[in-house]
Structure formats: structure tokens, C-alpha cells
């Protein structure tokens, strides 16, 4: 089963290598990993999608927790959450078929962000399924280039993966008081 982990880490050099190295060395399968800083510039947040059964996930959590730079891990899979991914696709687009491609873009609420002589570059955001469907729809025209950000996710409602100083890092989530 696929799990989505929200991981808060210290924004230290090498922290990505520590996390990525841990996954490869222990044979855990990363589906995607997205990382960027949070509102606190000393803390980054990783969204890691990992494949595995309950036992594997338990080890993933515990081993991640052993990294000194990892502050907090939440497995948000079981919660209600919003997840998004962004894709940029450059597709073959002779003037004759541009209209057709723009219709496809409309269906997916994608935007055209660049126009070449023979190409169109489109931007689309959404969850996994939507991005996959969008990619499939453009395949017949000939995709020249494609880049995805990997998934980022956040719990719905007032639950959040936060961090207050002094609290031990624990599995699970916090409810706003």
C-alpha cells in the first residue's frame, strides 16, 4: 500500500542525502519525494510517498526518526488530506492541431504557459490520477518533454503536522487547541 508521509526536517546541508540514503540503503521504495522550506526558514518539509506493508512502514518511520535532523514524521495516509502535484508538458503542436490541444487543456483546467513554433507548453496541477490522465490525453500528439514536481500534501481541516519546540517527535498528528 502507498503511504504519504509529511516529514519536518532541519534545513541543514545534507539532510536530503541523509533521507534518500536511508531509503536506498534499507531497501525502502520511494514513489515520490518533494521538499521545500516551510514558513520557518530553518525547517524544511518533505512529502514522501512510500510503498510498503504495515511492517515496512513501521521501519520507515522508526529509521527516519533515528536521523538527528528529522524533527517530526506524520503518516497522513489515513487522514483526510489535500494533495497536489504540478506537471509541465511540452507537446508537439503544429498550428493545425493547436485548437484540439487547447480543448484537452480546457478539460483538465490546464494552462498554456509557453508557445513555440511547433510546440505548446502546458501546466497542470491536481492529484496523481488527474495528472496521469492529462499525460495520457496528450500522448497521441507526441510529448517532447515532461517534468513533475512529485506530490505535496496537507491534512484537511484544523489538523496539522506542526512542530512546537521542546515536544518529542512522535508519530501522529496534532489537533489545534
Amino acid at each position: 500500500m502507498r503511504h504519504t508521509l509529511a516529514v519536518l526536517v532541519e534545513n541543514n546541508p545534507g539532510v536530503l542525502a541523509r533521507v534518500a540514503g536511508l531509503f536506498s540503503r534499507r531497501g525502502f521504495n520511494i514513489d515520490s519525494l518533494a521538499v521545500g522550506r516551510t514558513d520557518n526558514p530553518t525547517i524544511s518539509r518533505m512529502t514522501i510517498v512510500v510503498e510498503g506493508d504495515a511492517r515496512v512502514l513501521e521501519q520507515v518511520n522508526k529509521q527516519l526518526n533515528k536521523l538527528v535532523d528529522v524533527i517530526k514524521i506524520s503518516d497522513i495516509t489515513a487522514d483526510e488530506y489535500v494533495d497536489r502535484e504540478l506537471v509541465l508538458i511540452k507537446v508537439n503542436a503544429d498550428p493545425a492541431i493547436r485548437g484540439e490541444i487547447m480543448q484537452v487543456a480546457d478539460v483538465f483546467r490546464a494552462r498554456i504557459v509557453d508557445l513555440g513554433k511547433k510546440t505548446l507548453t502546458l501546466e497542470c496541477t491536481g492529484n496523481d490520477g488527474k495528472i496521469n490522465a492529462f499525460e495520457e490525453s496528450l500522448q497521441p500528439y507526441g510529448i517532447k518533454e515532461l517534468v513533475r514536481t512529485g506530490k505535496i500534501a496537507m491534512q484537511r481541516g484544523s489538523r496539522y503536522t506542526g512542530f512546537s519546540d521542546g515536544n518529542p517527535k512522535v508519530m501522529g498528528n496534532r489537533e489545534e487547541e
Binding site: 521501519q59 522508526k62 538527528v68 517530526k72 517527535k169
Partner: protein, 552 residues
């Protein structure tokens, strides 16, 4: 007051109570060595950086204090790697310092540059490169805190040359603040109660004790628990000495070369109390057949060890000493049962043994060393057959007296480790029980023991083979002894050339006199025991087999 980075480093070491370090100088470490020149710290110059790392490791194992080693950048740093990995696998507190090229030269393939923080990422508990002299003091404080708390382990601090020579206004920056690091200490009371109930309900309980008992200083609690509940105790290689080997409840070592009665006890028990262990494959053999009928209580400080290799019924996470104390307080004593009788019957039926044939038997040498030292020496070992014989035939009665590379299995560990042990325990008898293969992997440290007159006694069990590999070739590769025969130098003469005492022993009747002579001189001694070449370590669980299916 203004200080250089190197002076900050030295002061930080002193503040941590460090009075001894092991190292080897070089270009990028020059400012640090300059600060050490008149510092109140004793520095031991080994003859190879690997020797420094193992010596620091041995020092830590014998004393319980963190071991400290120091090397220069590039090759100096990479030569520490095996020693760091060794300490990591056995959870030994160690802080390794490396010089590094100046920050302006980093990443440019500069002379003697190696990405040592990258290289040691998977073999350290944590590591640092200090790029700002203002952060050096605090980083060192954090390094010692991480190395010595929770599950101990090695931490590396890489110090670029411009950082160690930079001048700063140094002030103590206060306590460490690591939001991502909070090791468990006290166990969950509910799990403690469950463990208590399980122990009281068990009919055939066994304790499986490991290095965690030694690390946390829980040998007293372990003994009290075993005696109160009359539970037999099997120890791992790392656990030897954590429970007295001559205690009536001891069943010795378990696992691949464990005693038959220890492995039978594990196979037949209905409750396995695993204390400070990690269910290593050399212990468990075939996992599905390991303690197949038992409920499992696993007591360990590292939550990631729970359920890593085996299913655990009752996890008790915390410092082993505290966990055992809390469990012990709540237990009602158990009375002698048929189970204790069965264990004693197995002990009588399947004793360890070997057949004498007029040649020197390696087991006999170990027994003689045990007798003459009354089981009170500190015994370091290398890795291989001699290591297993030392584990089987020396009776360890106190913790921190068996110093051996367990997890990584590092040949060449024992001799430099014995240096660290002798430094930590100056008045005590320290042996390195070695093989002819292993000893040659760090033989250059003979210069170190002579240099500092460390009276380490090396006992080489010389069979002219890489004995353990040869044994596997004999048993599993049809006696095809591919590259395991050793053409050795005359070890006694090598020892003498270095300025140590060398003795060659070829007949069983000379074992005792040689040991007596070795112990009578206050100098390093190398004893070269020419042993029966094709003696095997038995009993043995073939790899991948259940631990009660033993050869021999």
C-alpha cells in the same frame, strides 16, 4: 578571550572530560596538532589511522567513556572508515575528528580532499562538517551528547583547516538543543506490566542478553532478574561478561557457534526475554525456527530494533538498566521447575569439548590463559576461529572484559583495540587473542605498544590458514582451500625487531611456561602458538539452518 578553532576544539574536549585521544597527524590537521602540543590531553600516536579508530573503540568498550580519535583529511579520514563502521555496528560511543581542506578548496578535488561526511553518512550515528568557527564549540558538545546518549554510536566531526586556524571570541554557548533528538529512556508502564505478567506465567523462560546490557551497565539488574526468576541466561558475543559465565544459570553463548544447550534452550522455551539485542542473523540462524514456540519480550533502547527482524509480543523500549529495574520490582519470585532440570541435563549431556592429539589445540591455549589469569584479564580478539574459541573457552565473569568486533567482524581490530583497553586500564592484564591472518592486518601497531610500553600480551593461535574461511571451505566447498593458506613470517622475530618480547611455542607442554614468562615481564609480548592446522570451531549451525540443528 580570543582563541583559534583548534584551541576551541581542545578546550571542548577537556570540557567533555577527555584526557586521552588516539590519532595520526597530517597537513589539514596541523593547526589541531599544534594546539595539542601543550594541551593537557594525552595523545597516542598509532602507526595507521585504522589503529587509532580501533584503539579509541577499545578504550570506549573497556572504560564506558567515549573514545576519541583524530586524523587528517583525505587518506587519513578514509583510513578511519573501517574503525567507525566497526563502532557503529556494535553501538560504541566514539567521536572521530578529521582535518579537512580549507573551505575555499572544498569540492574542487583538492590535494587530500575526501568527502568524509558523505562517506561516513551510513556508518555514523550523526556527522558534521563545521564551516564556521563560531559553531565549532557547540558542534563538539552535540557530537559527544549524541555519541553517548540513547543507543551509543560514533559521531564524526570534520574540521576544515581554515576553521581550525580561524580566531574567534570563544564563549560557552550553553546546553545542547536538538529538537530532532530525544532518545527514549523510561519504558511504558503498561508494557512493563505486560512483561511482568508474561514472565510470571512462563513455564520455560530464557533470557537472551546482548551488548545493550553491557552498554547500559545493567549487569547487576540482569543477574538479579535471572536469580529471582531462576531463568537460564544465554548471551550473545557482545553480551559476554554481561552475565557471569561461571554462574549456574548461565548457558553460555547462543547462535552459530553457541553451546548446544543454549541453542536447545532457545528452541524449546515458551518465553524469550530479549535484553539489549538485535536478533542478528549469526544469532538466530533460520528466522522461522528461532524460538518457534515462544512469546517474545524485547527490551531495547532503540525502538527501530523492535520488530526489525522478528515479531515481538511485548516491546519494552527504554534504557535496559531502567527497564530491568522496573520489571524486577514488580515480579514475584519463581520456584525451581522441571525446566531448570532439563537445562542442567543438557549442560551435562552436551558439553563443549575437543580431542587432544599431541599438537597444541587452540582451545587448550585459551583455557590455559583463562586459568593463569583466573578469568580476570581483559581479552581483546581479532575475528575468526580464535575469536570463537576465546568466546567459548574463556570464562568472562565481569562486563567490559571481552573486547571483540561483533557486528562488522573486522580482522585487525583486536590488537589496536587492546592498546585502547590497556590505556583505559593501566594496571590490568590485557590480552589480544589473535589469528595469524588477523594479526598481520594491524601488525604495525607493535611500534605503538613498544613506543608507549603498553604491556599487551598477544597470543597468536597460528594455524597457517585463514582458519574460519578454511573451515567453511572444508565444510561447504569440498575442501577446496582457495587462497586461505598463509605463508607467515616468524612472528617472534618480528616482535623482537619492533622491540617487543617474542616467544614461539610448538608443544602443548610449553603453553603454561610461555604464559608465565609473558606475564612476568612488564613489556609487550607476542606469543606465537603453532596449533593444529585443521581444527574446527564446533558446534556450528550451518548458515541458514535452524539453531538447534548443529554440527559437532
Amino acid at each position: 578571550m580570543k582563541k583559534t578553532g583548534a584551541q576551541v576544539l581542545v578546550e571542548s574536549l577537556l570540557a567533555q572530560g577527555v584526557d586521552t585521544i588516539f590519532g595520526y597527524p597530517g597537513g589539514a590537521a596541523l593547526p589541531i596538532y599544534d594546539a595539542l602540543y601543550d594541551a593537557d590531553i594525552k595523545h597516542y600516536l598509532t602507526r595507521h589511522e585504522q589503529g587509532a579508530a580501533h584503539a579509541a573503540d577499545g578504550y570506549a568498550r573497556a572504560s564506558g567513556k567515549p573514545g576519541v580519535c583524530l586524523a587528517t583529511s583525505g587518506p587519513g579520514a578514509t583510513n578511519l572508515v573501517t574503525g567507525i563502521a566497526n563502532a557503529y555496528m556494535d553501538s560504541i560511543p566514539m567521536v572521530a575528528f578529521t582535518g579537512q581542506v580549507a573551505t575555499s578548496l572544498l569540492g574542487k578535488d583538492s590535494f587530500q580532499e575526501a568527502d568524509i561526511t558523505g562517506i561516513t553518512l551510513p556508518i555514523t550515528k550523526h556527522n558534521y562538517m563545521v564551516k564556521d568557527v563560531e559553531e565549532l564549540g557547540q558542534t563538539i558538545k552535540e557530537a559527544f551528547h549524541i555519541a553517548t546518549t540513547g543507543r551509543p554510536g560514533p559521531v564524526l566531526v570534520d574540521v576544515p583547516k581554515d576553521v581550525s586556524s580561524a580566531v574567534t571570541e570563544y564563549e560557552d554557548s550553553g546546553p545542547v538543543h536538538l529538537p530532532g533528538y530525544s532518545p527514549a529512556c523510561k519504558p511504558d508502564p503498561q508494557q512493563v506490566s505486560r512483561a511482568v505478567r508474561a514472565i510470571e506465567e512462563a513455564e520455560r523462560p530464557v533470557i537472551y542478553a546482548g551488548g545493550g546490557v553491557v552498554n547500559s551497565g545493567a549487569h547487576g539488574e540482569l543477574k538479579a532478574l535471572a536469580e529471582k526468576m531462576l531463568m537460564p541466561v544465554a548471551t550473545t558475543l557482545m553480551g559476554l561478561g554481561g552475565f557471569p559465565g561461571d554462574h549456574p544459570l548461565s548457558v553460555g553463548m547462543l547462535g552459530m557457534h553457541g553451546s548446544k544447550y543454549a541453542n536447545y534452550a532457545i528452541s524449546e522455551c515458551d518465553l524469550l526475554v530479549a535484553v539489549g539485542v538485535r536478533f542478528d542473523d549469526r544469532v538466530t540462524g533460520k528466522l522461522e525456527s528461532f524460538a518457534p514456540n515462544a512469546r517474545v519480550i524485547h527490551i531495547d533502547i532503540d525502538p527501530a530494533e523492535i520488530g526489525k527482524n522478528v515479531r515481538v509480543d511485548i516491546p519494552v523500549v527504554g534504557d535496559v538498566k531502567i527497564c530491568l529495574k522496573e520489571i524486577l520490582e514488580k515480579l514475584e519470585p519463581r520456584v525451581q521447575s522441571a525446566w531448570n532440570g532439563t537445562i542442567n541435563k543438557w549442560k551435562k549431556e552436551y558439553p563443549l569439548g575437543y580431542t587432544e592429539n599431541g599438537r597444541i589445540k587452540p582451545q587448550q591455549v585459551i583455557q590455559e590463559i583463562c586459568k593463569i589469569t583466573q578469568g580476570k584479564a581483559r581479552i581483546a580478539t581479532e575475528v575468526g576461529q580464535h575469536q570463537m574459541w576465546a568466546a567459548q573457552y574463556y570464562t568472562f565473569s565481569r562486563p567490559r572484559s571481552f573486547i571483540s568486533s561483533g557486528g562488522l567482524g573486522t580482522m585487525g581490530f583486536g590488537f589496536p583495540a587492546a592498546i585502547g583497553v590497556q590505556v583505559a586500564c593501566p594496571g590490568e592484564t590485557v590480552f589480544d587473542i589473535a589469528g595469524d591472518g588477523s594479526f598481520q592486518m594491524n601488525i604495525q601497531e607493535l611500534a605503538t605498544v613498544v613506543n608507549y610500553n603498553l604491556p599487551v600480551k598477544v597470543a597468536i593461535l597460528n594455524n597457517g590458514y585463514l582458519g574460519m574461511v578454511r573451515q567453511w571451505q572444508e565444510l561447504f566447498f569440498n575442501r577446496r582451500y582457495s587462497y586461505t593458506e598463509m605463508n607467515n613470517p616468524e612472528f617472534s622475530k618480528v616482535a623482537e625487531a619492533y622491540g617487543a618480547v617474542g616467544i614461539k611455542i610448538t608443544s602443548p607442554s610449553d603453553i603454561r611456561p610461555a604464559l608465565e614468562h609473558a606475564l612476568s615481564v612488564d613489556r609487550p609480548v607476542v606469543m606465537d602458538f603453532i596449533t593444529d592446522p585443521e581444527e574446527n570451531v564446533l558446534p556450528m549451525v550451518p548458515p541458514g539452518e535452524a539453531i538447534n540443528k548443529m554440527l559437532g
